[in-house]
């Protein structure tokens, strides 16, 4: 990735997270570098969302260290933690939009809380952000319950980007979307990543998005990262799960296209 000399944006070392008598993540280590799109894959229940939620501080860990922007979140005071949290945005799997606020108010919410902006500016900037994720102002006054799945994801994306974060965490951004909408959303992520210079940490099951936009893929199995590298490395990997995932019946289609148009 070339940027390995630079300090990683997120650095996870020897992370152990468990519930009751089971360790879901078992001495896991992972780096995310500035400006890359990292795709995290793994079987259902392998702990992908647990890893994401632990990094953003929603779940407690048993041991290990997590450094974001070079700072260990356990060793900072509340004010620094809040300042760090403003530098990342999170897109939750089901959007997690505030159901009693309109689309526009959802996007404005972080700006209104953190940035003391005048009302007209909040309206204009939020409308611009909605346009950037492909939504029109006509939808701005809808409530989350009136949105389709794809629109919910777009609004959640706009809200995650409200404060111009440096890192965005995406939890299955394309799940539940039809292939065309998923493809559109993938290219939206790629475009935003390029224009805003984002670092993207993305959990996905979508082989197409892994292939199309991820710079690097990390595979989570048995509580560890078992494979880590670009898609070509995944196709060459001998780990049984990785093999069946990328070279199974569904993966083969991709491998085909990958060989025809080497990235």
């Amino acid at each position: 990735m070339g940027s390995s000399s630079e300090q990683p944006v997120i650095s996870v070392r020897d992370l152990v997270v468990g519930f009751r008598d089971r360790n879901v993540l078992d001495h896991l280590s992972l780096d995310v570098h500035r400006g890359e799109i990292l795709g995290l894959v793994g079987g259902s229940g392998s702990g992908k969302s647990v890893l994401l939620r632990t990094i953003i501080g929603l779940l407690p860990k048993r041991s290990g260290t997590i450094e974001v922007f070079g700072q260990d979140l356990d060793c900072v005071d509340d004010q620094t933690r809040q300042a760090l949290q403003r530098r990342w945005g999170v897109l939750f799997q089901n959007g997690a939009l505030y159901s009693s606020l309109t689309v526009l108010q959802n996007v404005q919410f972080p700006m209104r809380e953190f940035l003391r902006l005048p009302e007209h500016l909040l309206d204009e900037i939020a409308a611009t952000k909605l346009e950037m994720v492909g939504l029109s102002r006509l939808d701005a006054n809808k409530l989350p319950s009136e949105l389709s799945g794809g629109m919910t994801k777009r609004v959640a994306m706009a809200r995650a980007l409200a404060l111009d974060p440096e890192v965005v965490f995406l939890d299955e951004p394309t799940s539940g979307l039809d292939p065309i909408s998923a493809g559109d959303f993938d290219s939206l992520i790629a475009t935003l990543q390029k224009t805003l210079g984002l670092t993207v940490f993305m959990i996905t099951h979508d082989l197409n998005s892994l292939h199309a936009i991820c710079d690097r893929i990390a595979v989570l199995a048995d509580g560890k990262i078992v494979a880590n590298g670009p898609i070509s490395a995944m196709l060459a990997s001998e780990h049984p799960w990785v093999k069946s995932y990328f070279r199974g019946r569904r993966g083969q289609l991709l491998e085909h296209s990958h060989q025809q148009t080497p990235a």
Binding site: S100, E124, I125, L143, D164, T195, G197
Partner: protein, 390 residues
């Protein structure tokens, strides 16, 4: 600033170096510096607004961005705003010195804000003034129709179950009966005991003044059996079980569980609502009976320790004072009140929309409406029993 041989204007802008205007005979230059990012955006907005509020717009403007160290969508939006405002017909704006890696961001924001400014948002339909009054009248009318609809649906479901008893959800009803009646017994016992004691204490305190101690038993007996027993229990059940019915059905509606039932060919009224309402209709009279006894017992204890009336005398007085009619009047009302509470709670539960807020609103509405209707019903029963001489 050495390379500009003009002079600075806009002294009010000197508080900040984010934006400086330099006027030159042929062209006006706006120089940006520092961080054009989210934390500075409020300051930047003030500067841009005051710059644009000037009555005369320069013909040639150059915006020099080479001094800007950091730039994000907030800064890009302000730059796009400046450019759009100054770029009127007959005017000319050039942006120079914007670092290469920010131009993509600027173009994207410029396009998006352009699109955003072209479309007007559709305001949510909200009524004000007389229209709001009309809306609320129409709403309460539909609310009443929905209640009637629920009554009809529950009666139809009950008839269906009568015709084919095997389809009735007995397990579900027993489970609900456990929750609304059995588990409610301790709190009902406690509350009605206290109410009975308080009535007796107040009776002794005031009746003693004119030597009417004996009539306290009449008052406690009649009041508890006819009115207070059933009313207190119904209000408790509306708060305790009515609210939980609304919240349960409401969150099931939000999570599409009710739609799932429908698509599998089940009628939610059969599966969810009929067992719940029947449980209330069976449970509330039982609770009323238990509650009334507890209140009479509370009255007895107060009579004994506070009024100095032995339990034997209390019971003897009670036998004289009350008749089976008083007991019947109270008990007859109980299932009707239970039905009203159940109907209101289930109707409100199914009215829940997509938001968490509406769940809270509906639960409140359920408790308030059912308590109100219980009291109205009690009044109607009072008139009815008086006219038939009970």
């Amino acid at each position: 600033m050495g390379k500009w041989d003009g002079y600075r204007v806009n002294s009010d802008l000197s508080e900040s170096s984010l934006l400086t205007t330099v006027v030159h005979p042929s062209t006006t230059t706006i120089v940006g510096s520092e961080n054009w990012t989210a934390p500075n955006s409020a300051r930047l907005d003030r500067l841009v607004s005051s710059l644009l509020s000037a009555s005369e717009r320069p013909v040639h403007t150059t915006i020099d961005m080479s001094g800007v160290q950091a730039f994000d969508t907030f800064g890009a939006w302000q730059l796009a705003r400046l450019e759009r405002a100054l770029n009127a017909p007959g005017h000319e704006v050039t942006i120079v010195g914007l670092p290469q890696h920010y131009t993509d961001l600027f173009r994207a924001v410029q396009e998006a804000s352009e699109r955003a400014s072209r479309t007007k948002s559709k305001p949510r339909q909200e009524f004000t003034g007389p229209a709001a009054v009309g809306e609320s009248v129409a709403k309460s009318a539909t609310g009443f129709l929905l209640l009637l609809n629920m009554v009809g649906a529950v009666c139809a479901a009950a008839l269906r179950s009568l015709r084919r008893p095997s389809t009735f959800r007995l397990t579900s009803m027993v489970n609900q009966l456990d929750r609304v009646a059995w588990q409610a017994i301790p709190i009902i016992l406690l509350i009605t005991f206290l109410i009975g004691s308080i009535i007796a204490q107040q009776g002794f305190f005031h009746f003693r003044k004119f030597g009417a101690d004996d009539y306290v038993v009449d008052m406690v007996g009649i009041l508890v059996l006819r009115e207070i027993g059933v009313l207190i229990v119904a209000i408790m059940v509306a708060g305790r079980s009515g609210s939980s019915y609304t919240a349960e059905l409401g969150s099931m509606k939000m999570r599409e569980e009710i739609d799932a039932l429908r698509t599998m060919g089940f009628d939610p009224v059969d599966v969810l609502i009929l067992p719940r309402i029947l449980a209330l209709v069976i449970g509330l009279p039982i609770l009323t009976f238990i509650g009334s006894m507890s209140a009479l017992y509370g009255g007895e204890l107060v009579a004994w320790f506070y009024g100095g009336m032995s339990p034997e005398i209390y019971i003897a007085r009670l036998k004289e004072a009350i008749s089976i009619t008083h007991f019947k009047v109270g008990m007859i009302k109980a299932p009707f009140m239970a039905f009203v509470i159940g109907i209101v709670a289930c109707t409100e539960g199914l009215k829940v929309g997509g938001s968490a807020e509406s769940l809270g609103l509906r639960t409140t509405a359920s408790v308030v409406t059912s308590i109100f209707l219980v009291i109205v019903l009690d009044g109607l029963f009072a008139v009815f029993f008086a006219s038939i001489g009970m």
